[in-house]
Amino acid sequence: MMLAPSRLVTPSLLRQTVFTRVVTFSTKAAPKEKEQYSNKQTTNVAPTTYRFIYPEFLPDPKVEWRNPIREKLERLDMIDRRSQIDIPEFYVGSILAVTSSDPHAAGKVSRFVGICIQRERCGLRARFILRNVVDEQGVEVLYEMYDPTIQKIEVLRLEKRLDDHLLYLRDALPEYSTFDTNMEPEVMEDGAPVPVNDIQVRLRPRPWLERWERQNLKGVSNIDEYLTDKRRRTAKEHEKPWEKYDLMKQYRSTIPEEEQKEIYAEVYSQLHQMELQRKRNKRKRSFVKPTKLA
């Protein structure tokens, strides 16, 4: 490893070498240490689905913003928060209900139901936007996931959509973002894959908030209706079909798999415990006391 040419020594490799050098300070302890490490790996392997269920545990791939110590401390804080309230698995397109304490509300608590249209940022700054149409008025609320004032996050319908974000719902007909406030949570079988809702929404005529035609959206059916020839042409000019072959870009915008494994191995045991606890609680809750008929 040390003999490799300098341009092959990536930051992650460098860190590994630094790490081993520190660990093998005492030559006697070295083999033992190695054994432990291998043991750890065999027992603490998080399932690969974790990167989708808990994406905020991965740090931002931007190199200038990386700070391993801060990331680790943040992960500890996130686990602490998750032990206080249940932050369930959800995706963009899922319908959530968030109950948060609100000093301005009459009952000091406010509940908002809506579809998650965006999920962004990492670590303690992770946040999501819920959207709903209430009284024919589109409303959006942004929540920070690890906000201590949030009391409860419920998933009313767990599903995915065809796109990574649903910001185009702002320009779609209101029926596509209207959800009942008193919706009951839909029960799903254990271990069933998350369904993908392949609904295609219809947009309102222009003017739009963004140039949706340039974003290669799968979940919109009628973009082409409202485009002029000029817009179609410029959209074509702005296409970047080569980007999927740009390995360097991909590398810079993602966390390498080895690093992901390391991170999830660190938090796996606690997260797994919480999942089991949740399952137990769900079973407890699913027993409904029969009400008196007379």
Binding site: S100, P103, A105, D135, V141, P205, P207
Partner: protein, 162 residues
């Protein structure tokens, strides 16, 4: 009852479709810009109470324009008082819901909503037919002084808080 509701709904939908068609026709003829994100002078607003003046202005498709913002920054935020030009008159109003980006937990609306008031802070209408952010309670209470206008009357006509 349900039948009546259904018929009502269908007629309203038909109206909406007509309105959309007209809007499309107009969009082809006129230069239209999207709704302004920032409430500054000449920003178009949407009256959301049931005052006669506001309803007529919105039905005619001539929404009020902000001609002054009563703060030192000149940019209106939730709960700020604005002066608007509506159907050739000058009226005061309170901003109750904006399209601009908001802080976490504060709702962001799809339109810039306005409730018309008179000089004493009494709303011209008797009902607000869209939800209103709860933070308005605190803001309007703070803005109300003992001898000045009482803006909290706007809260009394709100139908739903978010």
């Amino acid at each position: 009852m349900s039948f009546l509701l259904k018929t009502l709904k269908s007629t309203s939908v038909a109206n909406a479709v007509n309105a959309v068609g007209q809007a499309q026709m107009q969009a082809k003829l006129l230069h239209t810009t999207p709704v302004c994100y920032e409430i500054r002078k000449l920003a178009r607003l949407r009256v959301v109470d049931n005052s006669d003046l506001g309803k007529r202005a919105m039905a005619e498709g001539r929404p009020p324009r902000c001609i002054h913002v009563y703060n030192k920054r000149g940019i209106g935020l939730v709960g700020d008082k604005v002066l608007v030009a509506i159907k050739g008159q000058m009226k005061k109003g309170i901003l109750v819901g904006l399209k601009q980006k908001q802080k976490p937990k504060i709702p962001k609306f799809d339109s810039n909503n306005l409730v018309l008031i008179d000089d004493n802070g009494t709303p011209l209408g008797t009902r607000i037919h869209v939800p209103v952010p709860t933070i308005l309670r605190t803001i309007l209470k703070e803005k109300t002084q003992a001898k000045g206008a009482d803006y909290t009357k706007v809260l009394a006509i709100a139908s739903r808080f978010i």
